[in-house]
C-alpha cells in the first residue's frame, strides 16, 4: 500500500490533449505523485522504448493510452504497453472511438500523399519526393519510418482494453474522479470499477444540459452556426441547429453548451446506440415540421431540405467514424 504504482501515458495518433488533460490536474498532481511513479510518458518523462521493453510484464499498473491507432508505431506501442501493463485504459475520444484522426477514414492513403507532398499551396516538390518507410541516404545511412495503415482504428480494435474514457479531452472533473479511483485503489479503500466505459453517464447529454427543454421540438428550417444568432437559453435543436446531445453520453459537464455552442458528440454514444451517426440522423430528421400539405411535397424537395446538412458524414461521425457500422469510405 505504501508502494508506489507505475503509471504510463502512452501516445497513439494523438494531439497530446490527453497528456495535457492529466497535467491540468494542476495542484491535484501532487496527490497523484504521492501514490504513482510516472514512468513511460513521452511528453513529460525521459523513459525510452528500450526501457519499457526491459520491464517485466505487468510492471506498469495503469497505462493511459491516448490517440487513435493509425500507423505501425501506434500499434507497436499499444501492444508493447498492453504487455507491460496490468490495466490498459483507452483514454480520450481518439483511443475510445477513433476521434478526429478517425475522419481520415473518409479518404485514402494515396490521395493524402498527393495532397500533402505535392498539392498544398506552399509545397515545392518538383522531384515528387515522398517520405519512405525505408530510406538510405547518399552516405549509406539507413533510416526507417513507421508504415501507415489504410484504416484508422480505435485502441480496442488492436488490444484488449480494460477501461474506456471518452471526451476530447477528458475534462478536469472527470480526471479528478479518475484520480480518486486510483487513490482509493492504491490505498485499498475501494476496488476498481467494473470493466468498460467509465466516468460517463448511461444517459444522454440532454439529461445534463442546463438549457430549457421544450415539450416538443419541431423546427421549420435547418440552420448552421455561422449565419445564426445563437440564443443562449434555448435548446439548440429547437433553434434548428444540429446538436449531438440526444445521441451522446452525459458526463462532460456540458462545457460546449455552456459557451453557447452545440455538442458534437465527443463523449461517444450511449450503450443503447448501435451507430452514433445513424442514431443522431434518425433523431434529427424527426424534428422537422410536418406540414399540412406534406403529401404535395415531392421527394426532390424533401431531399433539398435535408441537404441543408451539407456534410452528413463529417458532422454525424465527427468523433466516431472508426467505430461506426460502416467504418470507412469505399469506392464503387
Amino acid at each position: 500500500m505504501s508502494e508506489k504504482i507505475k503509471l504510463a501515458l502512452a501516445q497513439g495518433a494523438t494531439c497530446s490533449g490527453g497528456d495535457i488533460a492529466v497535467l491540468d490536474l494542476d495542484v491535484e498532481l501532487l496527490k497523484l505523485f504521492e501514490v504513482v511513479d510516472l514512468t513511460f510518458a513521452p511528453l513529460a518523462t525521459d523513459i525510452k522504448f528500450k526501457d519499457v521493453e526491459a520491464m517485466q510484464d505487468g510492471e506498469i499498473t495503469i497505462c493511459l493510452y491516448h490517440g487513435a491507432v493509425r500507423n505501425s508505431e501506434n500499434e507497436h506501442v499499444a501492444k508493447l504497453l498492453r504487455k507491460k501493463s496490468k490495466i490498459m485504459v483507452a483514454y480520450g475520444a481518439c483511443a475510445a472511438f477513433g476521434g478526429i484522426p478517425g475522419l481520415a477514414n473518409v479518404t485514402t492513403k494515396n490521395k493524402i500523399l498527393d495532397t500533402v507532398y505535392n498539392e498544398t499551396a506552399t509545397t515545392v516538390n518538383p522531384e515528387h519526393t515522398r517520405p519512405q518507410t525505408k530510406y538510405v541516404d547518399p552516405d549509406g545511412h539507413e533510416l526507417e519510418l513507421p508504415e501507415l495503415f489504410e484504416d484508422v482504428k480505435a485502441l480496442d480494435d488492436v488490444v484488449d482494453v480494460d477501461y474506456i474514457i471518452g471526451a476530447c479531452p477528458p475534462t478536469r472533473e472527470m480526471n479528478v474522479q479518475l484520480l480518486q479511483v486510483i487513490l482509493d485503489f492504491v490505498n485499498g479503500k475501494a476496488p476498481l470499477p467494473p470493466k468498460g466505459i467509465i466516468l460517463a453517464s448511461e444517459r444522454t447529454l440532454c439529461d445534463e444540459c442546463p438549457r430549457k427543454k421544450p415539450e416538443k421540438v419541431i423546427i421549420d428550417e435547418i440552420k448552421s452556426v455561422d449565419y445564426t444568432k445563437l440564443d443562449p437559453e434555448k435548446c439548440f435543436l429547437e433553434q434548428g441547429i444540429m446538436c449531438f446531445g440526444p445521441a451522446t453520453r452525459a458526463g462532460c459537464d456540458s462545457k460546449c453548451i455552456k459557451v453557447n455552442m452545440p455538442c458534437r458528440g465527443c463523449m461517444g454514444p450511449t450503450a443503447a446506440v448501435l451507430d452514433h451517426g445513424g442514431s443522431m440522423l434518425s433523431a434529427f430528421t424527426s424534428i422537422l415540421k410536418v406540414s399540412g400539405t406534406e403529401t404535395e411535397i415531392p421527394e426532390e424537395e424533401i431531399e433539398k431540405l435535408m441537404e441543408k446538412i451539407r456534410d452528413p458524414l463529417g458532422t454525424l461521425y465527427r468523433f466516431t467514424l472508426p467505430k461506426s457500422l460502416l467504418k470507412r469510405v469505399v469506392k464503387e
Binding site: 434518425s282 430528421t285 452528413p312 469506392k331
Partner: protein, 154 residues
Amino acid sequence: MRDTFKPKIVVFCCNWCAYAGGDLAGISRYQIKPYFRVIRTMCSARVDPEWIMEAFRLGADGVMVAGCHPGDCHYIGGNYRTRRRVAMLRSLLKQFGLHSERLGLAWISAGEAEKFAKTMNSFIDRITELGPSPYRRKKANNETTGAKKETVDV
C-alpha cells in the same frame, strides 16, 4: 462475373401497406426474382437508419424501404419521417461511397400487388447492374467489423 452475380437485397416492409401488397403479389402468382428478403415492421418509420447501415455492413448490395403512400400511413405521419430519414441517409451513404440508388424508397399500398412485383424486379435489376456492394468486398478482406454491443435494442 456480372452474369453470375446474384445480389443480396433486404426489403423493409411496413405491415399495413407494403407487406400486405407483397402478400397479395405472392398469392396472385406474380413472378418476382428471388434475390430479396423481407423484414416486416409495423411502420416504415420504425426502420432505424442503423439497421440499414448494418445491412450494408453485413454485405447487402441493396436495401429498400417500402411503406404506405404519403397521406395513407396507418399511424398518420410515420412515412413523412421515413421520407426525411431516407433522404438524409442517402446523402450520407453517398458520402460513404455507395451509389445512391442502392438505397430504395417505395410507396406500395395493400392492393398494389403488381406494383410490388414491378418495384422489386426493377430494383433487383438495377442492383445487379450496379454489381456487388463495395462493402461486401471489403468485408471479405477484414476479420473484425462492426460495433461491439452486448444487446441489440429493438
